[in-house]
């Protein structure tokens, strides 16, 4: 099987995000990059599928900056076979990203039997790339997957919906599966895996190589700013039993008239 995984590199979850100088994006100079956590589930599922299908390969594809290739190296250290990086320091929109991923998959020379992605990236939370990519590649797709079973080219996929209910889908390959937390437990990259990853092929492509130009841009990011600071909360002293009735009245009044939540 030709198994593909699309990964994104995102700021570490502990990053304190600030806008950059001209407010066109976030300040990236001091960010520690990690693999998008939902993509880790995608990599793990790809590796499990590879283990169950002898002769399969796992190819990882990413669009983004070249300075730090953390996400691709991590995926290869976990066990993926090779990776493709479409180099771009620009802040691409979802459409351009999907188009670049499609181009990179085609450049690999392999026809995908299945493409795994995370259900969303935790930085911009657009939730568009998996569906856009599937549409561009004319593949069916299912997202928010928490259960995956494969029997030949038939897949049984469990999808989490509002309220915690589970929908069960039957699908057949080739298709795209976007993964959610709970699908599996991503493995650690072992130390021998990290050493081996050094020797695995990482092909760099430019946006031009994959046929993406600024004419493809649908969304322009124009203004990043921090949300306004929260006003300080109000404290009420109800230690004195005699005052409690009055305090309750005051709090209920404020919740009703000022906060308008009851």
């Amino acid at each position: 099987m030709n198994i593909f995984v699309c990964v994104k590199q995102v700021p570490d979850t502990e990053t304190k995000v600030t806008p950059n100088g001209d407010g066109t994006y976030i300040e990236t100079s001091s960010i520690k990059w990690i693999m998008n956590p939902y993509d880790e589930f995608a990599v793990e599922q790809a590796l499990l599928l590879k283990a169950a299908n002898a002769g399969s390969t796992v190819t990882v594809v990413r669009v983004g900056g070249v300075k730090d290739t953390e996400a691709l190296r991590t995926a290869m250290a976990m066990g993926a076979d090779e990776s493709f990086l479409v180099e771009s320091d620009d802040n691409l929109d979802s459409y351009m990203t999907a188009k670049a991923l499609k181009g990179a998959i085609e450049k690999s020379g392999k026809t995908p039997d299945i493409i795994f992605t995370g259900k969303q990236a935790i930085d911009d939370d657009c939730l568009q790339v998996p569906q856009l990519l599937a549409t561009m590649m004319e593949l069916p797709s299912v997202s928010v997957i928490v259960g995956f079973e494969a029997a030949g080219d038939k897949l049984t996929l469990k999808r989490e919906v509002e309220g915690g209910a589970i929908e069960v889908y039957e699908a057949s390959t080739p298709c795209l599966v976007a993964c959610n937390k709970g699908l599996n437990t991503p493995r650690y990259a072992s130390l021998p895996g990290i050493m081996k990853a050094k020797r695995k092929p990482l092909t760099q492509l430019s946006l031009a190589d994959v046929g993406v130009s600024d004419a493809d841009r649908r969304v322009v990011y124009s203004d990043f700013s921090l949300p306004p600071e929260k006003p300080p909360g109000k404290k009420f002293d109800a230690m004195d039993e005699g005052a409690q009735a009055g305090v309750v009245k005051e709090v209920v009044g404020l919740l009703r008239n000022e906060a308008k939540v009851i």
Binding site: R73, T74, A77, Y188, A189, S190, L191, P192, I194, M195
Partner: protein, 381 residues
């Protein structure tokens, strides 16, 4: 050429080991400290990921890491739990004499099994009457014809209760002092005459298994002797050049953990209407911690780098061991101080770090012995 940057792979190794420490060790450290149970499941998992036995060369199935890589891993694992790290590091301490002093055939026989499944090793040097004065050991290794016979008692042996292999130091002639010391491998833990004592009840490092061992006429095959009779002292000294930077790295890991807790807590704890981090008294404590932590780490890296580059590092290894162990004690003590009453409570993580830190000033050569080594290096050259 001076470069303080780790390579890309070394950074990845550090990242991965730190992830393991945060996800697999820290959440369980307190539980194992309480129960004093041997954390076999966690150690097994660490082994599966290649974090254990980092001293085994690639030609015998190991990762073939340099000392710099090994100490980077040790620092992270010790950050997770100094006690669990002791159980991991004790394997290296026991396997290092084999890496250093064994023949190719012996290395294949003794080291390779440790790369095929998780096995446990114990380094047996200290005796009830001989700790710092290691040359005065009483255990004997005598020629018994077609085998050697080991007799004697060992004390404070890490991993003793679970070991698959013992590396035992003894003398063929106590009169000859250090020239009589020899090193032999017992790879049959069930051999007749080996008596393992009850686990010691300790102040810290509680989940690491520490016991006395008695060898009563234990027969060991001749081909298990490392080098020749009398080579033991040389092997032990070379082992210390490797292992002292590792132990020093474990002090750095423990100190970093205490420092991180202290900085976080100082920013959160409000007294007199503001975080205590805004008080100069606390700031000075944190600044001292940061300085000593960084100085410790630099010494550890230099001692390791010298070893990797074939330079004699005995003095630097002792600098690193003494300085970082003493700094770890001070930093963990001050972390408790910054936490105040909460710090003294077992509900919070820092008192364990303070108890664990104490051992690092004692084992693998006390802080005082390190100073003796340093002074000897200064005045004998």
């Amino acid at each position: 050429m001076l470069n303080f940057e780790l390579s890309t792979e070394q950074k990845e190794i550090k990242e991965m080991a730190m992830k393991f420490a945060r996800n697999e060790m820290i959440p369980h450290a307190s539980k194992y400290d309480e129960s004093a149970e041997f954390p076999r499941e966690i150690l097994q998992k660490a082994w599966e990921l290649g974090l254990v036995n980092t001293c085994i060369p690639a030609e015998y199935g190991g990762t073939g890491f340099s000392t710099v890589e090994a100490i980077t891993i040790t620092e992270c694992l010790s950050y997770g739990c100094m006690g669990m790290n002791t159980a991991i590091m004790a394997n290296d301490l026991a396997l290092l004499p084999i890496v250093i002093g064994a023949s190719d055939e012996q290395k294949k026989r003794f080291l390779t099994p440790f790369t095929e499944s998780y096995k446990i090793a114990a380094f047996c040097l200290t005796e009830p009457g001989n700790g710092s004065d290691a040359a005065g050991i009483k255990t004997t290794i005598k020629d018994g014809g077609d085998h050697y016979v080991v007799n004697g008692q060992k004390m404070w042996i890490t991993n003793a209760g679970f070991a698959d292999l013992f590396v035992v130091y003894g003398t063929f002639d106590p009169e000859q002092k250090h020239k009589g010391i020899s090193c032999i491998v017992i790879d049959d833990p069930k051999a007749a005459g080996i008596e393992i004592g009850a686990p010691e009840k300790k102040m810290g490092h509680k989940c690491s298994d520490t016991r006395a061992i008695t060898f009563n006429n234990v027969k060991v095959p001749k081909e298990n002797l490392l080098g020749n009779l009398g080579d033991g002292w040389k092997i032990a000294m070379k082992t210390l050049d490797h292992s002292r930077p590792m132990v020093a790295a474990s002090a750095v890991g423990g100190a970093q953990c205490a420092y991180d807790y202290a900085v976080k807590y100082a920013g959160e704890r409000i007294q007199f209407g503001k975080p205590i981090a805004s008080q100069q008294a606390i700031q000075f404590m944190i600044a001292d911690m940061a300085m000593k932590l960084e100085a410790s780490r630099l010494l550890v890296y230099k001692a390791s780098w010298m070893l990797d580059n074939g330079q004699p590092n005995t003095k630097l290894a002792s600098y690193a061991k003494a300085y970082s162990a003493d700094a770890c004690m001070e930093i963990t003590t001050n972390a408790v101080q910054i936490y105040g009453g909460y710090g003294y409570s077992k509900e919070y993580p820092v008192e364990k770090l303070m108890r664990d830190a104490k051992l690092i000033q004692i084992y693998e050569g006390t802080s005082q012995i390190q100073r003796l080594v340093i002074a000897k290096e200064i005045f004998s050259r």
